[in-house]
């Protein structure tokens, strides 16, 4: 536990358990989604318009994405896919509002990827039976069993670290950039006002938060669907 660095700040303690800003920002996202969901479904009309149209479109897109990638019979996975997509997407772009993205914490990304890993194994065994599931590791030849196991275990690690790395890289670069711009304004222009900090980071925010953030949330969700439906086939 260090006082400096790029790790998440501790906001408060429950007993001796530290609660970091990763957790509090996640709570904020959860609260926003809860309010959004309740408002969205409070007054559904047969002829959709305005806000309801947007909500229906979001749900429809996620439902269709799930059906396309996991098959029609796996449409029940849509809420899980939607949770991943919405939570990771919101987490990644919440940096724009000045919060630390929860996905810039390895604990968040690993908890998501290990959830995916556990679901993959559980539903693989469920749909293939224990025999069929274990046999899957012996293919194409039993000699490859250790490699298959390593490959399977590598999935959640690569999944979690990919997301974490992308987002935390954005956070670090933006922090360094703000620091550099601050000292630049002072040394080059001789002003105490951080003039360069306004405007210049916008381009990088668009890239790191919006572009990379939405792309990574999509990649994570797509890979999750591929892993789970692949294990079930």
């Amino acid at each position: 536990m260090g006082a400096e660095g790029f790790g998440p700040r501790i906001v408060f303690h429950i007993g001796s358990i530290p609660v970091t800003e990763t957790v509090t920002v996640t709570w904020l996202i959860m609260f926003v989604m809860l309010v959004f969901s309740i408002l969205a479904t409070r007054n559904l009309k047969r002829e959709a318009k305005g806000f309801q149209l947007v909500v229906e479109q979001i749900v429809k897109v996620i439902n269709n994405l799930t059906k396309q990638n996991m098959g029609e019979r796996n449409a029940v996975w849509a809420p899980f896919v939607g949770t991943l997509l919405i939570f990771i997407g919101l987490s990644n772009i919440i940096g724009l509002l000045g919060f630390r993205p929860p996905t810039a914490d390895l604990n968040t990304t690993m908890s998501l990827s290990i959830t995916t890993f556990v679901l993959t194994q559980v539903f693989g065994v469920k749909s293939k039976g224990l025999g069929g599931y274990t046999k899957g590791f012996m293919e194409p030849i039993p000699f490859l069993l250790p490699l298959n196991i390593i490959g399977e275990l590598a999935n959640p690690i690569s999944l979690g670290f990919r997301l974490f790395g992308n987002i935390v890289a954005g956070v670090i670069i933006m922090t360094l950039l703000y620091g550099a711009l601050g000292s630049f304004t002072e040394s080059l222009l001789g002003l105490a006002v951080p003039l360069l900090q306004a405007g210049v980071p916008a381009v990088l925010h668009i890239y790191f938060d919006l572009f990379a953030g939405l792309l990574q949330s999509f990649i994570f969700t797509m890979l999750t669907m591929v892993f789970i439906s692949g294990a079930m086939e």
């Binding site: 530290p18 809860l34 899980f80 390895l106």
Partner: protein
């Protein structure tokens, strides 16, 4: 130890697994339950219900359309049949009326013919009767005249035939007109 910015900005390590992992696991589960219960469940169900309703309505409309078309064909057929029937009836009655008129005319004609015939016969009979009477009278007168002339009673029976013969030869053509 003061609760200032330094203590507030204590950070955990950047790459480490700690208590946050458990928090995030629970948070993810809760968020999943929230979204499933409040967003995906109701909206998907709502859209499904609406889709089914619309499908039902379209099917219903199609059914009604088919029924209406059936009715239309049926009524058109009935209408055509009725028209045909009407034509048939008119034709039948026209024919009957024509026949009847023809019969009436023919009956009238035959009546007239027979009446004419009767009239002719009557006339003929009357004429013959009159001629005969005239013949009698003449023969009678002739005999009377002759008997005056000869002052002798002629035997009427003997001469009647003679006289008649004479009249017939003289008067037949003249009485005819």
């Amino acid at each position: 130890m003061s609760m200032d910015l330094t203590t507030a900005s204590l950070r955990l390590g950047l790459v480490e697994i700690n208590w946050t992992f458990a928090f995030q696991l629970i948070n993810t589960l809760i968020l999943y339950l929230i979204l499933r219960k409040f967003l995906f469940g109701p909206v998907t169900k709502f859209m499904q219900t609406r889709e089914n309703e619309i499908k039902d309505q379209i099917q219903h409309a199609k059914d009604m359309d088919a029924i209406a078309l059936g009715h239309k064909a049926e009524y058109e057929g009935k209408l055509a049949l009725a028209e045909e029937e009407g034509k048939e009836i008119v034709k039948k009655h026209t024919l009957r009326a024509e026949n009847r008129a023809f019969e009436i005319i023919r009956a009238a004609e035959s009546d007239i013919e027979s009446m004419k015939l009767n009239a002719h016969r009557e006339l003929e009979r009357e004429r013959v009767k009159a001629v005969n009477e005239l013949k009698d009278q003449i023969s009678h007168l002739t005999i009377m005249a002759a008997s005056r002339v000869v002052e002798k009673d002629l035997n009427e029976a003997d001469h009647k035939e003679l006289i008649n013969k004479f009249i017939s030869e003289v008067g037949e053509t003249r009485w005819q007109s």
